[in-house]
């Protein structure tokens, strides 16, 4: 890609030439086994140019393997990987024109920060001086221009991952792959870098696939999230979609907090503790578990009038979280319920309360 000479050579302009020309990324029926164990059962994923898609799921769900297949670090048993409409399944990693940030620190220990950042450019035959200039610009973009002469071991974990990000972006790759790049960092740095990655991604318009097991991370930065479980994509949608309209119990259980409450389903609704709740997804019959979000649980002081809807419960734990409070309740049947309510409603440990549900749509699973 040529540098637009008309633009002043600022950090942004050096990299922004790629903006808006993101590449479409597709995985088509990817199957992958490791020694007899199938870890991906036909994964399909279609990422639009410039889109930020997260692969979210518990450890061992196959999300990292899917990303590695996309990068060419693993070869799929069947299925194909398409970049910009071209089948790259047989193209080796180094010819795929990708940028990747790894979970473990991956900077080359023997090279200074600037040399690390320029590595990809040098491999593409960019002359030393030009590569150094573009590397410096990329470091400026992640706010580390002043550390260009350091060696990786002289940087903090967050700084190392920032350099890794600059190193991955400097070659203006067609797709940015992030393999849990934040999981080794402490909470505060993690949030900062997460937001920074998203800002950069939006600014550069680069197609990005982000692997994480942290739902909060995925919800915060993604255009769309693919929730994976046992080697399959359970559901793919916007963060709002997944949270409000989970299609499967696994998604409901993994995205956001929910309590599994016993109920009786009759077609498109389920009755839990005397409240009829509409069922989201496929209709069901008979005993089921309804996955209820904490904000749809109401807590009131126990007035002991048996005619009230709901059940009585005892406060197990109540956590102040700023603008709201989250409380764990144990019903007389021993079922745990998460409730979210205003911070003013203080509940004491052991207090007896009445729990009621708001008739909002729920996802159900068979028991």
């Amino acid at each position: 890609m040529t540098i637009n000479r008309a633009l002043p050579r600022t950090a942004d302009n050096l990299l922004l030439t790629g903006a808006g020309t993101g590449t479409r990324v597709q995985l088509q029926s990817i199957v992958k086994s490791f020694g007899g164990t199938r870890v991906l059962h036909g994964v399909d994923l279609d990422v639009a140019p410039g889109e930020f898609v997260s692969l979210l799921g518990p450890s061992g769900c196959g999300k990292t393997t899917a990303l590695r297949v996309l990068a060419g670090l693993e070869t799929a048993d069947s299925g194909s990987v398409m970049l910009g409409g071209r089948d790259v399944s047989r193209v080796p990693t180094n010819k795929r024109d990708i940028g990747m940030v790894f979970q473990s620190y991956s900077l080359f220990p023997h090279l200074r920060v600037l040399e690390n950042t320029a590595f990809g450019l040098r491999r593409r035959g960019v002359a030393r001086a030009a590569a150094a200039a573009r590397a410096a610009a990329a470091l400026e973009l992640v706010g580390l221009a002043n550390l260009a002469d350091r060696f990786p071991h002289q940087l903090s974990g967050g700084q190392q991952q920032r350099v890794a990000l600059a190193r991955a972006l400097v070659t203006e790759p067609r797709v940015l792959l992030l393999d849990e790049p934040l999981s080794a960092l402490d909470a505060k740095v993690r949030v900062q870098l997460r937001d920074e990655i998203r800002r950069l991604q939006l600014r550069l318009g680069i197609t990005t696939v982000f692997v994480t097991h942290d739902q909060e991370e995925a919800l915060a930065v993604s255009d769309r999230i693919a929730v994976m479980d046992s080697g399959r994509i359970e559901q793919i949608g916007t963060p709002e979609d997944l949270y409000l309209r989970p299609q499967t119990p696994a998604v409901a259980a993994f995205v956001g907090l929910s309590s599994a409450l016993p109920g009786l389903a009759t077609g498109s609704s389920v009755t839990v503790w005397g409240t009829r709740l509409p069922i989201q997804g496929d209709p069901a019959e008979g005993p089921v578990e309804a996955l209820v979000r904490p904000e749809n649980v109401r807590v009131a002081p126990d007035t002991s009038s048996a005619s009230d809807a709901g059940v009585s419960a005892q406060v197990e734990e109540s956590t102040f979280l700023g603008s709201f409070r989250r409380t764990v309740l144990r019903t007389t049947d021993g079922i745990m319920v998460h409730a979210q309510h205003s911070a003013e409603e203080r509940l004491e440990y052991g207090q007896r309360v009445r729990v009621r549900l708001v008739p909002a749509p729920v996802t159900v699973r068979r028991v």
Binding site: P92, T93, D97, M100, F108, H110, G120, L121, R123, T171
Partner: protein, 264 residues
Amino acid sequence: MNRLTPSPLTRAIVGIVVGAFFAIPLVSTLIYTLRMPDGSLSWSRWTGLFDPHTVAALKPLWTGLGNSLVLCVVTVAIVLLLLAPTMVLVALRFARLRRAFEFAVLLPISIPAIVLVVGLAPIYQQIGRLFGTGAWTLAFAYGITVLPFAYRAIQASIDAVDLRTLAEAARSLGAGWTAVIVRVLAPNLRQGLLAASLISIAVVLGEFTIASLLNRQVFQTAMVVVQKQDPYTPAIFTLLALVLAFTLLLLIGRAARGTRKARP
């Protein structure tokens, strides 16, 4: 002060004892070569080495030394170009083979050289037919005897870095396998490769049994031959060989430090 840190006095004593342990044999050898029958000290035996009269008598030594240096080069080449890449491959691709590989590689240490020769003799008949009977062919045998030492040195370096992630990061940045090995892995295994090379040189320069039994003329066998006529000359050569080894160590060490400032 940390109670585990030795006091300056203890450190000085330890330093002197260890230093003496290495220095006494060397200094004694040096004095031995300098002392004349009348008790005076003179460099005449050293300068005598370059005397046209003695040069002829020393011919086997020079030949042996030359052969040994060639063997050093070939053996180090085997270590760096065959063993090291194989170890990297095992670490990156065939992790399951590691134990079996380690066992095979450490095996030569448990086999006495004299036993090894019994097996090597018929093989060397074949090698003789294929490559001739040049002394350099001994490097095939030396390549095996240095395996355990070189393996340990290199493996320590491999264990110290996350080879897989480094290789994958380099590949994702567009590096082909050659660039991965030359630009990323080798510099990070530098210390291990250096140690393996030096230890290989030391083993090759000190090897006697195999060379002697296979009738090849190397430094050590020549020393034995020359010693029968003149006990002083081998002592001088031993000292020279040690100086050579130390110089080599310093040179390679410096060269390796130089590559640390590699440019992007």
